[in-house]
Amino acid sequence: MAGISSQGLTFVFGGTTMTVTSVSVNDSQQLVDGSHLGISPTGRREYVGGFGTDREVTVDLITTTVLSAGTSGALAITGPIAFSGNATIASTNVNAGLGEICRGSATFRVA
């Protein structure tokens, strides 16, 4: 597959388009250890999945706004990566540095 540029990706949360420099969508699932009791000392464990997937979206922002953790809203990503859903801000920060543009980051947990 030919590479596709990230350019053109937009990120909207709670109706506000955010100025983002990176977006990361991370899915994870709890797995149950289903190994039987007779597994040998060097044997490989067996894991069972199929439970609900937990999705987290992490973004790096150009911002001076301090977002409020715990805020929920509709999240929509369009462009080369596309996805939407309801999400809640799990953590957020804003940084100001000497000679730098004000930046921030936020992690959203998708319902």
Binding site: G8, T10, F11, V20, V23, G99
Partner: protein, 143 residues
């Protein structure tokens, strides 16, 4: 007229009394004219530009520009004094001049040098040079 941080720096320098007292209007972009230039003088040039982008709409229109300001004089002390007056004028300077809006300006490095006309082929006498690098973030036109 082009709007650029160098224009801000030029106007700031030629209107600063303590700098103008030493160099008058002898503040030049890139190179010194072959005629009419006498020591001491200042030469400025861009050394690098970093333009940052965002994913959705591209440019942020507030690039980080490195501007090198070189102070030339007959003696080392005179070059140092001139560079120091430039520092007092530019380091930390913000605002709008020549239609260019500077958000932030920092003096980030200084280097001393000697210009030997026997080696460089210059028509000028030997001169001491203090090169100062200013890092400035400015609001670039988006039209």
């Amino acid at each position: 007229m082009i709007i650029a941080p160098e224009k801000y720096i030029h106007l700031k320098l030629v209107t600063a009394l303590r700098v103008a007292r030493i160099v008058g209007f002898n503040v030049y972009p890139i190179a010194v004219p072959r005629t009419g230039a006498t020591l001491p003088f200042l030469v400025y040039r861009r050394s690098n530009v970093i333009r940052e982008r965002e994913l959705g709409f591209g440019p942020l229109y507030c690039p980080l520009v490195g501007v090198q300001v070189s102070a030339f004089a007959m003696t080392y002390d005179a070059a140092r004094e001139l560079a120091d007056e430039v520092r007092l004028c530019l380091d930390g300077s913000t605002g709008t001049l020549a239609n260019a809006t500077i958000q932030d300006m920092l003096l980030v490095s200084e280097t001393d040098d000697f210009v030997d006309p026997l080696q460089t082929g210059s028509q000028l006498p030997p001169a001491y040079e203090v090169r100062s690098l200013y890092q400035c973030r400015w609001q670039e036109s988006s039209d």
